[in-house]
């Protein structure tokens, strides 16, 4: 118990004393190193298994980061966005995936995905609230892009529904992770950590943008 208190005290001193920037910098460096290794959606795995569907959304770092950012920003926005988001997002994303599967044209998908991480990261970093309608449009457009990108590369398989369900559940769980992470803002040092995380997400966005630009 004492040790817990001292740990909390240490963290508080660390964060309140303006000495949290080194921690942020460390996080950035870590991400910078990890990103290239984990980039790109996997191609492997047939649609036949639940595992393939479950792993598909969690293996591309840009996607994972954007989904967690959506949850985090939902937590920043508070009710009603925080509960509207996990309900509406999967359906919009699935619609985007339908467009992708049918090969309907949607311009600027790669750019949109890279931008999504950057924009959401900045919004989380600034703890920015927007009017409900604007927020819905922003998240909706990103959902569409992410869905489309997935739709284009989804493998064919026998058990389409099981694969799809696992896919959707994995995405939903990523949101949940973001929302739960967002709950740490209730602690005194929480907002700072959130801002750091937002900054990290924005960095991933910038990195993706560079990739898109380079390609």
């Amino acid at each position: 118990m004492d040790r817990m208190m001292s740990l909390q005290g240490f963290l508080r001193r660390l964060l309140n004393g303006r000495r949290w920037w080194p921690a942020c910098a460390g996080l950035f460096t870590l991400l910078w190193v990890l990103v290239p290794g984990a980039q790109a959606h996997v191609e492997a795995g047939g649609a036949g298994s639940v595992m393939a569907g479950f792993l598909h959304p969690v293996t591309g770092l840009d996607h994972v980061v954007a989904m967690v950012a959506v949850g985090l920003w939902g937590a920043v926005l508070g009710a009603p966005a925080i509960w509207l988001l996990p309900v509406a997002f999967p359906m919009v994303m699935a619609f985007g995936a339908l467009l992708g599967l049918l090969q309907l044209p949607l311009p600027g998908v790669e750019l949109g995905i890279a931008l999504s991480a950057l924009v959401l990261g900045v919004l989380v970093m600034l703890q920015q609230r927007l009017p409900m309608a604007v927020a819905a449009i922003v998240v909706g457009v990103f959902a569409l892009f992410h869905g489309y990108a997935h739709g284009v590369e989804l493998p064919d398989g026998a058990d389409a529904l099981l694969f799809s369900l696992a896919f959707v559940v994995a995405t939903g769980l990523l949101h949940l992770v973001g929302i739960l992470l967002g709950e740490i803002r209730r602690w005194a040092w929480g907002p700072r950590v959130l801002q750091c995380t937002g900054a990290g997400i924005a960095v991933v966005g910038v990195w993706s943008l560079i990739q898109v630009g380079g390609a």
Partner: protein, 181 residues
């Protein structure tokens, strides 16, 4: 179109239990029953009673017709479309008119029953497999919609909507995969 979801489970406990197992391991059927149960539960006890009265009966009628017709299709596009409709309605958590709900339930029951009937083994006289499926449908409907009716906490209600959203999204994705494939 290939028969996608024809999991014919053999429990070794006879046709009745094979039927129960068939429902429990066929994702599209199970998701529809769960979705409809949540939807009916969201409408209050009257909705649950309506579902209990109509779904098993229409499922059974559809199944009988299916076993008699035995077409070599799985109606996958139709069942998935119904799944999407049900999922979206659950996600919206709107009050429906009783007549609309009844129509949806009867259509869903008949279509899914037909799809089951095409694949389930036919026995002379009454099919125990079909009886098992229908019994499992009735029991699931009762247990789930009963629980949904008494759920008061707001986050649990949102969880129900999220479940509906997942069902709809999975349906849309599956439909897309089918149209592509």
């Amino acid at each position: 179109m290939p028969v996608l979801f024809a999991h014919l489970m053999e429990t070794g406990f006879g046709g009745f239990y094979d039927g129960i197992a068939h429902l429990l391991i066929t994702p599209v059927d199970l998701m529809l029953v769960i979705g409809l149960s949540v939807l009916a539960g969201q409408q209050g006890p009257a909705g649950g009673r309506l579902l209990l009265a109509l779904l098993p009966m229409s499922w059974w009628l559809g199944g009988m017709a299916g076993q008699w017709l035995r077409f070599d299709t799985s109606l996958t596009a139709l069942t998935t479309a119904l799944l999407i409709v049900v999922g979206v309605l659950v996600a919206l958590a709107r009050r429906l008119k009783a007549a609309v709900l009844a129509l949806l339930v009867v259509v869903a029951g008949l279509v899914f029953g037909l799809a089951n009937g095409f694949t389930l083994p036919v026995a002379a006289g009454m099919s125990l497999d079909l009886l098992g499926v229908v019994s499992a449908v009735a029991v699931l409907v009762l247990l789930i919609s009963g629980q949904v009716v008494v759920t008061q906490r707001s986050w649990l209600r949102i969880a129900q909507q999220v479940a509906g959203s997942w069902i709809a999204a999975a349906g849309v994705l599956a439909l897309g995969l089918m149209l592509k494939g």
